[in-house]
């Protein structure tokens, strides 16, 4: 019998007898069973908690931090918002403001925000997997998973899940939402916000029903090829049509055009157009005096746009429009396009002629220099019609014979939760939703040459803002408890009656907001009847002079007839009244000369109002608020008094601070301000 080998000896040692066999298997089982708990002992979160304890032990405020530290897996659980967040297991110091000087993650305290962390959890704003307890699972994702952590620069999108109103802390989101409306995204895409309201486009692209009256086939061709070559500030996207396509569409648009109400109704004028030299010399003055630049921009010699963005840019308008059309348009814009925002000014025929000649002189001969189109034919028109319906032109513009397409582009109401496996990424781009959305906005055709979405001319900042606004459209936002959703008011106020029709014609709400509906360029008129004195309003309508001389944009002159002025003034004085403006509000007898003297002292010394307002043009220079030199003619006593007491109550968001005047101070100041009247000719002072 030979000596047993090592293997045999080991075999015998471990499983030689039943007892040994039993012991061996038991030990093996015990080892296997202990693997799981041991792994748990070395888990990532324990490592971070150890590291944290080590870090705080060296600090001077260690006892306090140690007392507040809780070891083990931490969890924020909010069933009604479906939040199960274990982020605080590793991010242990979220509420420790004394660690603000630390940059070591995951131990930084959370920056100050208006919400409590335990009320909303983490994932609602930051995305990621709340229930995960490893770094990789919580923060990153593969295509098949849920969403990864939201990059910091898009974080404002999370505010937009509940807040539909404009917040002060989310400029990027606010800009993005404004762009969604302004660039007409919502014409093709349905974008329902979490409160159920659809984003409404505000750009109002012109109707093309009568386009042949306005411009030529050649201009349409040039415009379709590259809208920004004609007007740098245009929001019309570039569809990258080839020459043939652009010709076909231009042919179709001209062929479908019908005569407008204007061309049928307005009699041709006999005032001749002034010569180019006269137009250039006098036209600019008239253009300025009529305050066209309040709404329309032009490029100056250095290429900067000067003027407002309410109407189209006019830098090269002479290359576009037909002289007869300009005249008719200036006389009655709504006869050509009933939905235009341009008011109907009551220009004289001479003014119309001069302005027309001036505008025709603003042309760029290079724009259409190389455009020579073949004559239009039936086949080309038919191709053009097909292109127009294929590319959804009618989603934005009114076109005869083409109905606005329904559901033309994908619904974006839940784009922020689009599963990544449904997304076709481009080669080399990061496989995340923000990267996909911003890439698609930047260059849609890169995702496939057959895609119809055109290219918009946007800056990086605008693309990021749009991406932020779209990322707010998440599933979570839709299912958020309704009491958390903060809507912005959607007002549809339009003035009624005869005066209302006149105000519609003058398009007052293009610039002025009334009862929450209208533009933000000019003062809110909701309480105008309570604010001003009737005599002043009558005078102002006749000759609007601005209250704030520093502004470039000013109210244009409408050349209203005396009857129209009276009708408008009466309507505004009656309809636009604030509550609580009766004779009880202020005892006018208290506004005597003594009170005015005390008020003057308060105005100049205690409250230094002259730092923002001008009460006396000779010595005051304040340029922030409106000039008050003739406020005694302009504003009503009760308005001044109530305004001084609490400006924000009358005009939410005004820059005028509430100085908490006492009753007496407000009365005295009102008395002083009412003495500030324009000097009348011949009136004894």
């Amino acid at each position: 019998m030979s000596e047993p080998t090592l293997l045999q000896r080991m075999w015998h040692f471990f499983v030689g007898t039943p007892a040994r066999r039993f012991a061996f298997v038991s030990i093996l089982l015990a080892i296997v069973a202990s693997i799981a708990p041991t792994k748990e002992l070395f888990s990532e979160w324990r490592h971070f908690q150890r590291q944290y304890r080590h870090m705080i032990a060296q600090r001077s405020d260690a006892p306090r931090l140690q007392r507040r530290f809780q070891s083990g897996i931490q969890q924020i659980w909010i069933p009604e918002q479906r939040v199960v967040d274990r982020c605080t297991t590793c991010h242990v110091a979220l509420q420790e403001n004394s660690l603000a000087d630390s940059r070591m993650q995951p131990f930084r305290p959370h920056p100050a925000i208006p919400h409590s962390l335990t009320e909303f959890g983490c994932v609602i704003c930051h995305h990621g997997q709340g229930a995960a307890t490893t770094v990789k699972e919580a923060h990153y994702s593969t295509k098949a998973w849920e969403q990864p952590i939201l990059p910091g620069r898009y974080l404002e999108s999370s505010c937009g899940q509940c807040h539909m109103e404009e917040l002060e802390g989310t400029p990027q989101l606010n800009l993005g939402r404004r762009l969604l409306a302004r660039y007409g995204c919502a014409h093709c895409h349905a974008i329902a916000q979490p409160d159920g309201t659809l984003i409404k486009p505000v750009d109002e692209p012109p109707s093309l029903d009568h386009v042949a009256e306005k411009t030529s086939r050649e201009w349409l061709y040039g415009w379709l090829k590259n809208p920004q070559a004609y007007a740098a500030s245009s929001t019309m996207p570039n569809f990258r049509f080839n020459n043939q396509e652009a010709t076909d569409i231009a042919n179709f648009l001209v062929s479908q055009s019908t005569p407008s109400e204007n061309s049928r109704a307005t009699a041709p004028t006999n005032v001749p157009l002034p010569s180019e030299a006269v137009a250039a010399a006098d036209g600019a003055g008239l253009y300025g005096a009529l305050f066209c630049a309040s709404c329309h921009a032009t490029q100056n010699s250095r290429g900067n746009l000067i003027g407002g963005d309410l109407g189209p840019e006019l830098t090269r308008v002479g290359s576009k429009v037909n002289p007869d059309w300009v005249r008719r348009w200036l006389r009655a814009p709504q006869g050509y396009d009933p939905k235009t925002r341009m008011p109907r000014y009551r220009y004289t025929e001479k003014e119309v002629a001069l302005l027309t000649a001036y505008l025709l002189g603003k042309k760029d001969d290079d724009f259409l220099a190389n455009v020579h189109l073949a004559p239009s034919d039936e086949a080309s028109i038919a191709r053009g019609k097909k292109l127009v319906s294929d590319y959804g032109c009618a989603a934005c513009h009114r076109i005869n014979g083409v109905n606005p397409p329904e559901g033309f582009a994908p619904d974006l109401s839940r784009i922020g939760s689009k599963p990544l496996f449904q997304v076709g990424f481009l080669r080399g781009m990061p496989e995340t939703l923000p990267a996909y959305i911003s890439g698609k906005i930047r260059d849609p055709r890169a995702f496939g040459p057959a895609l119809k979405m055109p290219s918009f001319i946007l800056t990086d900042r605008q693309v990021e803002a749009l991406t932020t606004a779209l990322l707010a459209q998440t599933d979570r936002a839709v299912t958020m408890p309704p009491e958390l959703v903060r809507s912005s008011p959607h007002a549809k106020y339009h003035p009624g009656g005869d005066a209302g029709r006149l105000m519609e014609e003058l398009r007052c709400q293009s610039c002025h907001a009334i009862n929450g509906n209208g533009g933000d360029m000019a003062p809110d008129l909701t309480f105008e009847g309570s604010a001003v004195q009737r005599a002043w309003l009558l005078e102002f309508m006749k000759n609007p002079d601005t209250l704030r001389p520093a502004l470039i944009r000013r109210m244009p002159k409408f050349n209203l007839s005396p009857a129209e002025i009276t009708r408008l003034t009466d309507y505004m004085m009656t309809a636009y009244q604030a509550p609580g403006f009766d004779s009880q509000a202020l005892d006018l007898r208290a506004l005597n000369a003594d009170a005015a003297a005390r008020g003057k002292e308060l105005f100049y010394t205690k409250y230094a109002c002259q730092s923002c307002h001008i009460a006396d043009h000779k010595k005051d220079k304040g340029y922030v608020g409106p000039a008050l030199a003739n406020v005694g003619d302009r504003l009503s006593a009760v308005w001044i008094y109530k305004w001084l007491k609490d400006p924000n109550a009358l005009l939410p968001g005004t820059a005028m601070p509430n100085s908490h005047l006492t009753e007496t101070e407000a009365r005295d100041m009102t008395a002083f301000l009412l003495t500030l009247k324009a000097r009348k000719k011949g009136a004894a002072k």
């Binding site: 910091g152 990027q172 230094a608 730092s611 100085s659």
Partner: protein, 322 residues
């Protein structure tokens, strides 16, 4: 067989290594060298966390004669920052421009722009940029609406500055750390909430207590602290090393803790009184501090250790009630 397999594995590993290498741009070779790197524009910008800075950062490399050097290599780096491009050769005017993207933590970031010396080594330039968190962003919005028309002398087409119309003119810009860093948070809050007269200054600064909420006023202060130049010393800025880990300077941290007690109860005083056998209450009364403070101070000064060893230690430790 085995060797073939391992060769395959080795080859594929090598290949994958090479493939990875190919994604990193090769370092540029400088064509010229300068002796100085200076900022042209782009420093001291403020933007939201994680955002790209609005204006590009432009630096210029100059030679010994003070003229711009074309073709010098400039590289950018900085903790938490990313750059497009991160390195480039200077153009004909000796300049390099890059777009910087801030990190996700609010606070100051330092851009380090470097150009190599001809004989090895580098010249470097530090630029400070500011990342605004949520609170600072709110502060900026409020400041833009209510404050800067008087506190910023620059006019824009949309906003005419009121700075020059004021008598006396505002003493500082919001970013002027040399004035504002010396003011406490409480004073700043007070002057915003209650106006200039609250601190004995001109009433031209109106009171915003009725207009802004306390949170909004705090946000404005946070914004002022964030954009302060020179930086606000106690701002939540980084004290980190190159790995992003925090430096721990116990001396610096403990200084204020120690100083307060040390000023109130100087070591010599504590010793002499302890020698005289005074009870702790009497010592506290003498120095005008609390019993706890004096006890801690005597511990810290080491008096309770030294006294038993001292020749004139005539009293027991119990005298302190320690």
């Amino acid at each position: 067989m085995k060797s073939t397999f391992s060769t395959c594995v080795l080859a594929s590993l090598l290949l994958s290594g090479c493939a990875k290498q190919a994604n990193v741009p090769p370092p540029l070779a400088p064509k010229a060298y300068g002796t100085q790197i200076v900022e042209q524009s782009g420093g001291k910008q403020a933007a939201g966390v994680g955002a790209k800075l609005k204006d590009p950062v432009v630096v210029q490399v100059n030679g010994a004669d003070g003229n711009a050097v074309a073709g010098a290599l400039v590289s950018f780096h900085g903790d938490g920052l990313s750059f497009t491009p991160s390195q480039a050769l200077t153009d004909d005017s000796g300049q390099v421009s890059t777009v910087a993207q801030l990190g996700t933590i609010p606070g100051s970031y330092v851009i380090v722009a470097e150009t190599s010396k001809s004989g090895g080594g580098i010249f470097s330039l530090n630029l400070r940029e500011i990342a605004l968190g949520y609170q600072e962003k709110v502060g900026k919005q409020i400041s833009d609406k209510y404050c800067i028309m008087c506190h910023d002398p620059e006019s824009t087409p949309e906003r005419v500055s009121n700075f020059d119309n004021l008598a006396p003119p505002p003493s500082h810009l919001f970013s002027d750390g040399s004035v504002l860093n010396a003011m406490s948070d409480a004073d700043l809050i007070k002057i915003i909430a209650d106006g200039g007269p609250a601190l004995g200054k001109s009433p031209q600064t109106p009171a915003y207590r009725g207009t802004l909420t306390p949170g909004e006023i705090k946000a404005v202060v946070a914004y002022i602290r964030a954009i302060a130049d020179p930086p606000y010393p106690h701002s939540p800025g980084p004290i980190t090393d190159h790995r992003g880990c925090r430096y721990w300077n116990a001396t610096m941290e403990d200084e204020p803790n120690w100083l307060s007690g040390a000023l109130l109860v100087p070591r010599e005083g504590a010793c002499s009184l302890a020698h005289a056998g005074e009870p702790i209450e009497a010592i506290a009364k003498h120095f005008g501090g609390s019993v706890q403070l004096c006890r801690w101070r005597i511990y810290q000064a080491g008096t309770h250790h030294q006294l038993p060893r001292a020749p004139c230690a005539v009293f027991a430790r119990g005298a302190f009630g320690l």
